[in-house]
Symmetry: C2
Subunit: 219 residues, 2 copies
């Protein structure tokens, strides 16, 4: 059975992993007969947001513990992950990838991706294993692999597209139900809530992404 | 367009709404062309659990704010809900229904359902509007409406089935992909993670529940 790593970064679209995109990834991995292996970095969230109010609260929360809510408790630190035991990696979107996995929300084109996240992504890449990224998460993927001139989609956000180009990535426009496939680098991306508007709109693109990622795995 | 109330009770299977069941409810409501209207009680969570560790943390979190993560911020207090504007109600499972909406986790057959939650459920019932409940949430539904001898399913948990009977409810065994329909009371229930085991296993029952609830709405 194929094992697909799912890199989470908190729990909630405003300060962590986008919950719908994460759950749909888990659904379609399971539906495809593969096993999801959830993981997250060990770090304090950059911020905690009261979602109904849209305001930061000052609370200190741990990314791994919060992400564990989406995983029903079954989650491991990314430093405990052995890439040899996994067949692919999928990164859902939300504020988590741009506030926790990287500082894109603050730095824009000058973003830095966390060292352990960069190492994880590059380990999958070097092993020739496919990587999927959803919504805004392709920014993290593209930065970690920018030496390989990756092509990704983030929908149609002009500023983000411009930022991607400054560090050597190419952008391919895709609708919410489309996927961008970078065959040479084995990368698959879909806009999801970068386009939206609703959960039924983003589901087909995520299902295509999961199935494409699994199709690109070896053996 | 039909408007379906979704009663949430936190964010996470160990101290709030079960995230997968909640997100699948939102998915299938949207897929059916209806609109989900998320709501939650204004209260402090009974407890906060570190999900990877399975341990309570002592943190005080608000049910409405945490449930708002699942709703991407769009959520209202249940006391602000006008049942006249909604066509049906769906209650996902998790620890939230038995720790926050009621004290079933502590009291078993002697549970009390929060007053505002009881009033909400009875308002839908009195208006002849259908109510769906998932996983362990049928216990809350059955207790709030026990005067009407409701029939529900919670899968096959012997203790819970016994408890349901003590307060006047009947139990109908159903597999994970089945739904129990109480036509007379317009109630629809499905076991979901009471049976499991995986997210792809629980999805068909939740889709049937959502579609059945919508089919039972008026007009």
């Amino acid at each position: 059975m194929k094992k697909i790593g799912v890199l989470l970064s908190g729990c909630g679209n405003m300060d962590g992993s986008e919950i719908h995109e994460s759950v749909l990834s888990l659904l379609f991995i399971d539906k495809a007969g593969a096993t999801a292996v959830c993981m997250a970095p060990e770090m304090t969230q950059t911020e905690t947001v009261n979602h109904p109010k849209g305001e930061t609260t000052g609370e200190k929360r741990q990314v791994l513990a919060e992400a564990g809510r989406i995983a029903r408790g079954k989650i491991r630190p990314i430093t405990d992950v052995n890439v040899e035991n996994l067949d692919a990696l999928i990164i859902p979107g939300g504020a988590g990838p741009i506030k926790n996995l990287s500082n894109y929300a603050e730095k824009g084109a000058d973003l830095e991706v966390r060292h352990d996240v960069t190492m994880l992504i590059r380990a999958f890449y070097t092993a020739g294993k496919p990587i999927g990224a959803i919504c805004i998460a392709p920014v993290v993927l593209a930065k970690a692999l920018n030496a390989h001139s990756p092509t990704v989609t983030i929908g149609d956000d002009a500023t983000t597209i411009e930022n991607l180009k400054t560090f050597g990535a190419s952008h391919e426009a895709q609708p919410v139900d489309g996927i961008c496939i970078d065959e040479a680098n084995k990368l698959v991306t879909t806009p999801a809530y970068m386009c939206g508007p609703g959960i039924a709109d983003i589901a087909p693109g995520i299902e295509k992404l999961v199935n494409q990622v699994i199709a690109m795995t070896k053996g």
